[in-house]
Amino acid sequence: MSGANMPLLSVEDLHISLTTDAGRFPAVDGVSFTIARGETVGLVGESGCGKSITALSIMGLLRDPLGLAGGKIKLSGQEIQNLPASQLRALRGKRIAMIFQEPMTALNPLKAVGTQIAEMFVLHQGASWREAESKAVDALTQVKVPAPAQRAKDFPHQLSGGMRQRVMIAIALACEPDLLIADEPTTALDVTVQSEIVDLMKELCAARGTAILMISHDLGLVTDTCKRVCVMYAGRIVEQQDSERIFNSPQHPYTQGLVASLPRLGMRARHGRRRLTEIAGVVPGITAYPVGCRFHPRCTRRTEICETVVPELTALAEGSLVRCHHHG
């Protein structure tokens, strides 16, 4: 592939296994997707479907009992899944940065937030602490924290949830990374603050040309933020579509269930009064994934083939992909 067309990140046939006393279990099973420079991609699914560990594997931060069991992760064409620790550290924070769900526990309670941002400049730009601290104030200004010079001296417990998440964004974007992985960045926040944070992320990343991999259980949030959405279920990607289309023509029964369970503005005016529906059942645990299509025990369209044969990812029009024997 030539430089211009080469995706920024390409995850190919990623397998992550969970090792327990009872054996090894496939937590993530053959996940593939790509992200182009500056593109925004969402990864959606219920808790425990493997979204976060997919993200951690890209960062090279999987820890026991989880481990990479196969597949390739390429950053600008370079395979990074087997890089030595020191080279991986040089990428982390500098080219790929990550924001975590809970900004209270993700920040060190005993360090001023300014210092925690400044660390990035010391680590990756060889700045002196004094230089780095003043750059940290600039970074706080960019994430629109009021009175940044004073706030830089504050400790995490002195800031509100939204302010803390702004600090996390400042840390993540400090070295202008190529890719920002946001793992449920707004889940722990008040609804009113959520959209502020998402807008801020989008705005700053667009200005820097930073691509976003947004991980969330919230389909609505992801379609608002991202150009393309991958839906994950039980360790596999079951559907991939453009955000614009996924709401109107979800192909996989699971995605259809997700869409039907979401309240949407203007629905009642357009379609009349309708009940929101839920998907019956719960996500199976990693140690108890069903054979065949992993969604079949909860699926309304299941037939015999679903219980034995794993459906392939099928390409549809407009670059959409779906993994279902009875899609559409």
């Binding site: 924070g93 993700a106 660390e119 840390i171």
Partner: protein, 310 residues
């Protein structure tokens, strides 16, 4: 910060009164009398002498009046006169204070210098041989009684190897201090090693450590920049509690090594029924505990910004 320290120091006052009350009540309810207790085995007691002493010591006053007098007496730093030596108890304790303090400090120093790094190393390599070795040392250190450990140390290092004297204070230098300090310090060392290991393991799994790794830090920086201080907050509690109780725990070791500290004074005074001396020793040991605890609280405030003024 200054306000916090002053407030914390003022909080010691009611605690001190409570300690005085407890000691006073304790010695008022135990069988026997101050007066008869001064006579050997109560044999051949002259009732005239007993009556005179009851008057002299004010033992016929109501309890609250006697407590009032006791507190008033303490307020002037007067701990009473020893029944045996007829010296002021304050002077006797004063003479024993320094040996006790250096023994306690040396034992605690040993415990911190050995225990905390051991715990750290074990936590960074959980499940390794170092970790396993530490667990063995820690469990044995906690289970060995101090007097027995002291005898073992004496046998090995004094009698067999002849490196250190088996007992005595000498000039109070390291030569005489080493064995009793180790005998006293092994159990807090073992406890500190285990607490440190648990604290560090706990912090290593914290979200902010994952954030630190996601920033591209090497493990050394992760530990020094983010783990160390957070683990210290947890370890400090154990250090404070151990340090505070060490002066009291020193009783056995001081007696064993004939160390002229407050512990051996306390034991001697008990055997001699020297009640003012016993009271004085207990008071000073409690006061020490209180002072250490208050210092730890102030240290918390210095390390952890989340601690509020209370």
């Amino acid at each position: 910060m200054t306000g916090f320290i002053i407030r914390r120091l003022l909080q010691m006052v009611p605690m001190l009164v409570a300690i005085a009350l407890l000691i006073f009540v304790l010695f008022s309810v135990i069988p026997g009398s101050f007066a008869t207790g001064q006579q050997d085995e109560g044999l051949g007691l002259d009732m005239a002498v007993v009556t005179r002493m009851r008057l002299e010591l004010g033992l016929d006053d109501p309890l609250h009046v006697r407590f009032g007098k006791y507190v008033a007496q303490l307020a002037t730093l007067d701990l009473g006169i020893s029944f045996r030596s007829r010296q002021p108890v304050a002077d006797m304790i004063g003479a024993r204070m320094w040996p006790s303090l250096i023994l306690t400090a040396a034992a605690m120093g040993f415990a911190i210098v050995i225990g905390v790094p051991l715990g750290f190393v074990a936590a960074l390599r959980p499940g390794s041989l170092v970790d396993l070795g530490l667990m063995i040392v820690a469990v044995s250190g906690l289970s060995l009684p101090k007097f027995w450990l002291g005898i073992l140390l004496m046998y090995l290092f004094a009698l067999t190897l002849g490196w250190f004297p088996s007992f005595g204070y000498g000039d109070g230098g390291l030569y005489h201090l080493t064995l009793p300090a180790i005998a006293l310090g092994v159990s807090p060392m073992a406890l500190l090693a285990r607490t440190t290991r648990a604290a560090v393991l706990d912090i290593m799994n914290a979200d902010f450590v994952r954030t630190a790794r996601s920033k591209g830090m090497n493990e050394y920086r992760v530990v020094v920049w983010h783990v160390l201080r957070n683990a210290l907050v947890l370890v400090l509690t154990t250090i404070g509690l151990q340090f505070g109780s060490l002066l009291g725990q020193g009783v056995v070791v001081e007696k064993l090594f004939a160390w002229p500290g407050i512990g051996s004074l306390l034991v001697d005074s008990v055997f001699q029924r020297d009640i003012p001396a016993v009271q004085g020793c207990i008071l000073v040991i409690s006061l020490f505990f209180l002072v250490i605890n208050t210092s730890v609280d102030i240290a918390y405030k210095l390390i952890d910004p989340r601690i509020r003024y209370t």
